[in-house]
Amino acid sequence: MINSLDPRIAREKINEDNTIAPLTEMDNWETYEVFHQKKRGEQHEHVGIVHAPNNEMALLFGKEQYGRRGISVNIWVVKTSNVFASDYDDADIFETVPDKQYREAGGYKVMEMINKYKKENKVK
């Protein structure tokens, strides 16, 4: 019998060689991805994972785990199995080429034309 210094443990009268059946898969439920919003008006941002048996508990655990210091005003939870993600091996799908300047603000320069026009037409 464990004679613990912790009264909460001592009164449980636990045997040192207690054995239990191992936890089986899903004993700790499935995982949810947690997103929080730091303040109204900002985007929700991924903060981490919780294990939960359902949406409601995932919200509760999400709040307890990621929002217990008052840095969130709102939380979303999504089952990890519902998140469909791109593959890092396919990172080249995000690559672009220099000749796509037509879709960048920097691809539109006008000062040279304006200055030339002003000079030729003596616009002050």
Binding site: D6, E16, R68
Partner: protein
């Protein structure tokens, strides 16, 4: 050994790069050398995955077991404010375990499997938690100095190459700063209090000094293995480097309070800028980490009891079909 996992010295060193695809390995190493992070679905060497699982899992176990010695004093904390603060700290530590288990899970080991390995004694956790918190002052010394050691370790590891571990550690380190301040405030309160309080904190410090010196683990053998783990940014500093950093930051703060450390050889060598100390008793460390410490049996028995008692609650939450029935009388 906190984040730097404890590796049994008798374990056969794996030939670490055996059977790895040389092209993928070169890309992987180049990514790390560029300071980029590795994410869960990236290709990684088998040894990288194995070491990280071991390290993060041991760290998670340390957080959850570490809540036990400190939790010992929740019911008898001196006053309401200290009780609230200690409860908040212990909740944080259990939360850290959850964050870390989740980070380890991204590498392919389930939380259930990790908990099973903890409660059967297969996995290790930080050796310091196999010692008891004999008095309230012990819990204060733990909160200050063990957490201080943990911060040094965690700040170093937060810069490691594995994304999920680094992100969990960033979050953890923010909370650890409260633990450190809380612990220091407690120790200062006792050290500047009545002669009895002072004696109490001195005795606790004397008891905890050997485990604190053990905290970062024995000197690393400079091996091929260590070199590769450092190149892969799994291991971010040697155990001795972290111990030196700890001594440099905290011994002066301990001496400021006029407290005495039980090592007559402890001093800073002003030429080498390194601390000199009596070599900790590593046989004692090995004896305790392999089950022979004063609290090993209790720590694991308590975890088994907690898992067992929670089992029906976890099952009930999963199956909401049962309706609550108002008691008849």
């Amino acid at each position: 050994m906190y984040g730097n996992a404890y590796i049994d010295p008798n374990e056969k060193p794996l030939s670490i790069l055996d059977g790895e695809d040389p092209i993928k390995l070169a890309e992987f190493e180049a990514r790390i050398a560029r300071g980029e992070k590795i994410e869960p679905k990236d290709w990684m060497p088998k040894e990288y995955r194995k070491q990280l699982i071991r390290m993060i899992e041991q760290h998670a176990h340390s957080e959850i077991i570490g809540a036990l010695p400190e939790g010992t004093w929740i019911t008898r904390a001196p006053g309401f404010k200290r009780k609230l603060a200690l409860m908040a700290k212990v909740q944080d530590e259990v939360g850290h375990a959850q964050l870390l288990y989740s980070a380890a899970e991204t590498l392919g080991k389930s939380r259930e499997a990790m908990i099973n390995d903890l409660i059967t004694g297969k996995s290790k956790y930080s050796n310091v938690f196999n010692y008891p918190a004999l008095t309230w002052a012990d819990s204060c010394v733990i909160a200050w100095l063990i957490d201080a050691g943990a911060i040094i370790n965690q700040v170093a590891n937060a810069k490691g190459s594995y994304g999920p571990y680094g992100r969990a550690l960033d979050r953890i380190c923010t909370e650890e700063s409260f633990h450190l301040k809380y612990g220091h405030h407690n120790v200062v309160t006792l050290a500047t209090g009545t002669p009895f309080q002072r004696q109490m904190v001195q005795e606790a410090l004397t008891r905890w000094w050997p485990p604190i010196m053990h905290f970062f683990g024995p000197s690393d053998k400079i091996s091929n293995h260590t070199t590769i783990l450092m190149k892969w940014k799994v291991k971010m500093a040697t155990n001795d480097d972290m111990r030196q950093q700890f001594l440099n930051m905290y011994v002066p703060k301990i001496w400021d309070l006029g407290l005495v450390l039980p090592d007559a050889n402890l001093k800073k060598n002003e030429e080498t800028k390194l601390w000199e100390y009596t070599e900790p008793d590593w046989d004692e460390f090995k004896r305790v980490i392999n089950g022979g410490g004063p609290c090993n049996a209790e720590r694991l028995a308590v975890r088994r009891m907690a898992e067992e008692k929670g089992r029906w609650v976890r099952a009930a939450l999963l199956n909401k079909s049962e309706k609550y029935v108002t008691p008849l009388a």
